[in-house]
Symmetry: C2
Subunit: 345 residues, 2 copies
């Protein structure tokens, strides 16, 4: 008798568990019903949903094996704000006082003198050569561990001038949802940025859920050596191994991933070859361009059609036309996103 009772108890429990499991699945389904809540129901959102269904449903003739599901994202202007300057450039300028404190002989030497003056107009007029000198002085010459600690403490304290928030909060909420949605569907998400690989890797995991090995960026050399205590260290070199921009993005994808993406996302001509290379693969390939056309919630700088152009990240009219001609899908920040930032009410 006892054994029968126990058995019944077991069976009841089993059925109970089955019901709870079914309810949980339904709840998960209801939640999953809109994986992209910050996207308005327009052509951009539809293109994403269609692409994911096409590549991941087993019955689809365009089904793609999970290990082949690679999605690559430009960072500056695609995942987070890049105006008035990309965040890494602000970091480099902000580092100049500490650099001069450590090397006082630079105090009266250009371009450091101009940066220290705080004269915004003069800083904005620095030449590319000047900027390269500032980048080399603030991004190289230290160990990789020192660099990581300098960037980490800057990220914790620095605030942007417009929203007065840490830069890592200036990511686009719709793109964060897109990253998670693709990962939930078996895609591996990569950042493919013209910015420094070592810089972006420091915050990519916490900010985007993208671990360091999935960040492809411009690569400076490192030299293996030993410190004064005999401990092996890597020193960051001024030598540029990969300029991960334009055609360099495709070279970087080949080098770091070794597989052609099925989906790629960008916003400037520096992303053109990556989008082109992605689309040139067999089967369904999604290429999307973030269009900055919302001066109220973010910035409006491209394409030129009726919008003011800015120096950095300009998105010219002919590039927009190329996008349409090539079957790329344009994401209008103004029309496709009902929310830009997570901190919005």
């Amino acid at each position: 008798m006892r054994s029968i009772l126990r058995r019944r108890e077991f069976l009841v429990n089993t059925v109970g568990i089955a019901i709870v499991t079914a309810l949980a699945s339904m709840a998960a389904f209801a939640q999953a019903a809109d994986p992209l809540p910050s996207w308005n129901n327009g052509p951009a959102k539809q293109a994403i949903l269609h692409f994911v269904a096409q590549t991941t449903e087993k019955s689809s003739p365009d089904y793609v094996q999970p290990q082949e599901r690679i999605a690559t994202f430009d960072q500056d202007g695609t995942l987070w704000v890049e105006q008035p300057l990309p965040t890494q450039a602000i970091y480099c300028l902000d580092r100049v006082p500490a650099l001069v404190a450590a090397k006082p002989e630079l105090k009266n030497v250009e371009p450091f003198k101009t940066v220290l003056s705080g004269d915004r107009a003069a800083i904005a007029n620095l030449s590319v050569k000047d900027l390269e000198q500032i980048l080399a002085a603030t991004l190289t010459g230290m160990t990789t561990d020192q660099f990581q600690s300098e960037v980490t403490s800057w990220l914790a304290s620095a605030r942007d001038a417009r929203w007065h928030r840490p830069y890592t909060q200036l990511t686009y909420q719709p793109m964060q949802e897109l990253l998670r949605y693709l990962r939930a569907n078996g895609f591996t998400t990569y950042i493919v940025t013209g910015g420094g690989q070592d810089f972006v890797r420091i915050f990519s995991e916490q900010t985007y859920g993208i671990p360091p090995q999935q960040v492809v960026g411009s690569i400076g050399g490192v030299t293996f050596t030993h410190d004064a205590n005999g401990k092996p260290v890597l020193i960051k070199d001024p030598k540029l191994m990969l300029n991960n921009n334009g055609p360099g993005k495709v070279e970087g994808i080949h080098m770091m991933i070794g597989r052609r993406p099925y989906a790629a996302f960008g916003n400037t001509p520096g992303d053109q070859q990556m989008l082109e290379y992605t689309r040139a693969g067999n089967g369904p390939r999604l290429a999307m361009l973030v269009l900055h056309d919302d001066a109220v919630r973010e910035y409006a700088y491209g394409p030129a059609r009726g919008l003011p152009t800015v120096k950095l990240g300009a998105f010219p009219q002919d590039y927009y036309d190329l996008a349409i001609k090539s079957g790329w899908v344009v994401i209008s920040m103004k029309n496709d996103w009902n929310r830009v930032f997570a901190f919005e009410k």
Copy 2:
């Protein structure tokens, strides 16, 4: 009544499934009891089991988060046979006839003439400069897709001279078990090879379960361009971007992974810095050296202590002494492995 019968049927089925599941789990457990069956129960196997328990059991004071669990493996001589020549070198020599067929002007030009002669002694005496010329001619100048198709068809037909088997069957069974065991415990396994990254990626997924993005090798440049049909392609350049050997392995790990390994495996002085860098991290770090001391089942070439030395992959006495002094664990092929190849009876 029918509904009760149905219900009973459902319950019986449920219980049946539960029992089958339990039995399957027990079988899996029995199988999992020895995850490394080709390893004898000596210090090398014990070091591996101890390291995995230490880093993966939640109660361990040395617990390591899954995303930090990186294990890096040299390939030639660590995962597969590298004697009498590394497989990629054989590939390059084997490609010479096809190369000369396409470019007949090379027929009477050295070093191609010597390779075509088939004179083994003369081929063995080719200088490093000669070999570099052969490598450049057989590994570059084509698109990445062409290279992939050439290597794939060679791998399918080429047989090694001693075992008369495809080269991809000459992997060490105990190391294959180790790769799977580490992955089953949340480690991400990487190949970190002095060989060409593009070459190894072609077979790494099928041969080792390691996808292309987890292969770090010597990197030649590629150039993005368009073919005659306007399709974007990558051409393999003779430019060496990374010599992934010695200190270059640590530089490659930083560039491609961005995290210090918790475990590293090698067999030659080209692996020294990788092992040293791995051990220099905090917490438990496993560094292991495969010692080739089994002339009967494989080759015996290192360390020099009582063993013949060979030209390639030599493992000198002082390196062995360094290993012991540094706390690296030596894997004796002769004593630690009860089976070397999967095809052994």
